[in-house]
Every structure is written in structure tokens, then in C-alpha cells.
């Protein structure tokens, strides 16, 4: 009995080391989240270019002359300063995070969704580590079809 308990405890220690070590490598996959966002936008037929000197993408859609903007913001609000000046009257703002998109940003709901997704990832229920960045889209009002699009694929969660 003693030996069995000891073996179980020792196995737990070995498992902890193995799981932490493998997940450490897993975390390195998304090293450039802005590049990953650009790839997802390209899949939605949005041609992108990086704005010089800013952590922002400028997107061009074939049927819409004015460009759209996309950027990643930390869900905890640490880089909200970058939002200053973005809310132009002639644009619609969309916040996309883990399979949901809305024109209002609900920080508490986002943190809750992140915590839930992180827990599912931690117990191995979900393979992808949830991002701690939300996607902010600034869409020109001149192209009404843009706001109606399904943008949730930019921050997917199944």
C-alpha cells in the first residue's frame, strides 16, 4: 500500500514536469499574432498591409474604396490608449473575441470567456491556447456590407 501511494505521488511529479515542458513548447507557436491575423483576413478576401510604426493592419476590400483597420488589443485593457482617435464618425467599430463579434466591448464577459477557454485548454479539452488579444476592426460606414460580414473567424473558438 505504501509503495503504491509513493509510486502514484512520484508519477504525479513526473507528469507535472512532462506536461509543463510540452506546453512550454506549445506556447511558442503563435509568436507573431499580427501575422496570424493578417493570414485570417486574407482568407476573408481582405488584402492587408502593416501600418508603418503602428501595431495595426490596413485592409483593402475589392468592393470598398476606403480602407478598414484591424488591430490586436489586450483583453485586460492594458493598451486601450491606442483606441484614442480611432472612433471616427464615419466608421463602425467591431470587437471580435473567441467566436463572438459585437459593437460594444464587454470587458467582464471577455475575461470570463478567456478564463473558461483557458480552463478547457488546461484540462486538455481544447487543443488551442486561447489568445489574450481581441481583434478590433474599424470598418468604413460607406460599405454597409462589411459590418454585416461574419468576422468571428478572426478569433475563432469551437
Amino acid at each position: 500500500m505504501k509503495t503504491l501511494v509513493r509510486c502514484c505521488y512520484l508519477s504525479l511529479i513526473v507528469l507535472i514536469v512532462v506536461i509543463q515542458a510540452t506546453h512550454g513548447q506549445h506556447d511558442q507557436s503563435a509568436s507573431d499574432p499580427l501575422a496570424a491575423l493578417a493570414t485570417r483576413l486574407e482568407r476573408l478576401n481582405v488584402r492587408t498591409e502593416r501600418a508603418a510604426g503602428a501595431e495595426m493592419l490596413i485592409g483593402h476590400v475589392p468592393f470598398c474604396a476606403p480602407p478598414m483597420l484591424a488591430q490586436l488589443l489586450s483583453i485586460d485593457g492594458a493598451d486601450d490608449e491606442r483606441l484614442r482617435g480611432l472612433h471616427a464618425a464615419e466608421a463602425t467599430v467591431k470587437y471580435v473575441y473567441l467566436g463572438s463579434a459585437g459593437e460594444q466591448r464587454d470587458k467582464a464577459a471577455m475575461i470570463g470567456r478567456w478564463a473558461w477557454a483557458k480552463m478547457l485548454f488546461a484540462i486538455g479539452w481544447h487543443a488551442d491556447k486561447p489568445s489574450s488579444y481581441l481583434v478590433l476592426l474599424v470598418l468604413p460606414r460607406a460599405c454597409a456590407g462589411l459590418a454585416a460580414r461574419d468576422w468571428t473567424t478572426l478569433s475563432p473558438w469551437k
Binding site: 501511494v5 505521488y9 515542458a21 475575461i111
Partner: protein, 303 residues
């Protein structure tokens, strides 16, 4: 005289079974070992995006984790052999240790904090736990608090504090006749045409977890009993830490040269030393007026 130990509260255990059961002390040590491995594996793995692989990066993360983490764990292991008596472990202790280990398997910092808190609570509430075991329980709870306090779940709180810090920093710069304004968590030094962004790791609230751990570690290291009258000193330690952070932020926001010196240059060590000195000072002041540690009986010597 040696023999089988039979717990009075567990009549179902025959003397043979009790003899075969693992000891409470051993389970306690296994528990501490499990949560320690999980704690340090989390640090070695890296908990923030951009933490790189490689032995050098891992070593840096361990060194950056803070002197008081190392100190606290040293204290825990130094007392682990006196965690409880030689009686057999209860089923509750065995299974709670398994549960703590199971939770610690999850590769997130919050899981490590939960397992530390679980084991700490078990040691604090255990009826047969020795005083050294209760001290270990307290240390584990303090480590859990620190891990939870610095986890991503509480980042929004530190963002809010960072905004308050920015406003305080702009106000202090104004006192120094430097024109500055704060927008959200950004301090814009208009006179110097320079601005800084206060991220959650730089907010004045973040070091408070470490300050409380340092306070507890020092008090226990000095061999003083924990009393309610120490609480005002802990609050003073918090205030001292917040003031030190505000001074650092002001120094960072004065100019780019200042920023480089204090953020990546020798100023980093100066700040770390000041924070360390402050963390040590308050527990020493708090225990200075207290009663000296109880004298050992004449027939007992400290090895």
C-alpha cells in the same frame, strides 16, 4: 517502544493495516514536493507570451522570479521534516495531496496557485499537524496568493491601478515643475516630449503579492509568532512598496535617458535592491518590539 499505531477515531483500521499505511510526515513531504515542482515548472515554462525556450531563458526566468520565492521555498523545505508526527496519514490527507497534485497538472499559473492553497489549507486545519507544519501551510498560502495576484486573471485589476499610477505620476511630475498629463495608462511628459506606458507588470499593485510573501517569510525566519498587531506593519510595507513604485515611475518618465537607465540599465539593480531592503525592513521593525523567541529547554540544543 515500537509498535503499530492505531488511531482511536478510525476503528475500521486493523493494527496490521495501520502499520502498512504511509506516514503523515511522508505524505506531507510528498505534498510539498509536488506543489514545489509544479510551482517551479510553471516558472521555468514561462507564463507570459514571448517567453522563449532554452536553458538560458529558463535560468533567467527562475532568477527573475524573485529572491523571496527562493527564500520561502528554502524555509518550507528546511521545516518539511517536522511537518507532522510519525502517525499514519489520514485518508483525507492522502487524497487531498492527490487532488492538489492533480490540479497542479494543468499547465497554468492559476492551477499551481489553487494546489498551493489546497495544501496550505490542509496543513493549517490539520489536527495532528505540528507547529512547523502550520508555518509551512501559511507559507504555501502566501505563495498561492502571490501566484494568483500575478496571474493573468487579475491583469484587469492591475491595468486599473496602472491608470491611477499614471495620474499620480503626472501629478508628481507637476510638483517637480515638469508639465505632464495622463491618458489611461500613459504618462505624457510634455516638457520632455516623452511618454511612458504603464503595463500591468509595472503597476504599483503587482509587487504587493511579493511584499506579503516577504513579510511572512521574514517574520517566520525570525522565529516570531504571527499576531494581529503585525497587520499595521504589513499595511505600512504595502504603502512603502507603492511609494517606491511611484518614485520609479516618475524617474522613468522624466526623460528618455532616465528611462533607459532605470528600465534597462544599472537602475534596475538599484530599484531591486531598494525593494528588497524595504521588504526586509518592515518585518524587522514589526518584530523588533515583540517578545523574543521562546527559550529552548536546557536539555535541548539547536543543531
Amino acid at each position: 517502544m515500537r509498535g503499530y499505531v492505531v488511531s482511536i477515531g478510525q476503528p475500521a483500521d486493523s493494527p496490521t493495516l495501520a502499520g502498512q499505511r504511509i506516514g503523515a510526515r511522508e505524505v506531507g513531504i510528498w505534498g510539498v514536493l509536488i506543489v514545489a515542482v509544479a510551482f517551479w515548472a510553471n516558472i521555468a515554462r514561462g507564463t507570459t507570451p514571448g517567453d522563449g525556450p532554452g536553458a538560458g531563458a529558463i535560468l533567467n526566468r527562475v532568477l527573475d522570479s524573485g529572491a523571496f520565492n527562493v527564500f520561502a521555498w528554502s524555509l518550507v523545505f528546511a521545516r518539511a521534516s517536522r511537518i507532522s508526527g510519525a502517525e499514519p496519514a489520514s485518508r483525507r490527507q492522502i487524497w487531498t495531496t492527490f487532488l492538489a497534485g492533480g490540479i497542479a497538472l494543468a499547465p497554468v499559473q492559476a492551477a499551481s496557485a489553487v494546489s498551493l492553497a489546497l495544501l496550505g489549507g490542509l496543513l493549517l486545519r490539520g489536527r495532528r499537524v505540528l507547529p512547523a507544519g502550520r508555518q509551512i501551510g501559511l507559507m504555501l498560502l502566501a505563495l498561492a496568493f502571490e501566484a494568483a495576484w500575478t496571474s493573468q486573471l487579475l491583469a484587469p485589476l492591475h491595468v486599473l491601478v496602472g491608470r491611477a499610477d499614471a495620474a499620480i505620476c503626472a501629478f508628481l511630475l507637476g510638483l517637480l515643475h515638469i508639465e505632464a498629463v495622463a491618458h489611461a495608462n500613459v504618462v505624457n511628459n510634455i516638457s520632455g516630449n516623452f511618454s511612458i506606458v504603464i503595463w500591468p507588470p509595472c503597476a504599483s499593485s503587482l509587487p504587493l503579492g511579493c511584499v506579503s510573501l516577504a513579510f511572512l517569510t521574514m517574520v517566520l525566519y525570525l522565529g516570531r509568532p504571527l499576531r494581529l498587531r503585525l497587520l499595521p506593519w504589513l499595511v505600512l510595507a504595502f504603502i512603502g512598496s507603492i511609494l517606491l513604485t511611484e518614485i520609479r515611475l516618475v524617474l522613468l518618465a522624466i526623460s528618455e535617458a532616465n528611462y533607459l537607465w532605470w528600465h534597462t540599465g544599472p537602475g534596475v539593480s538599484v530599484y531591486a535592491l531598494a525593494a528588497l531592503a524595504l521588504a526586509v525592513l518592515f518585518p524587522i521593525l514589526a518584530t523588533r518590539e515583540g517578545a523574543p523567541p521562546a527559550a529552548l529547554p536546557h536539555d535541548r540544543r539547536v543543531a
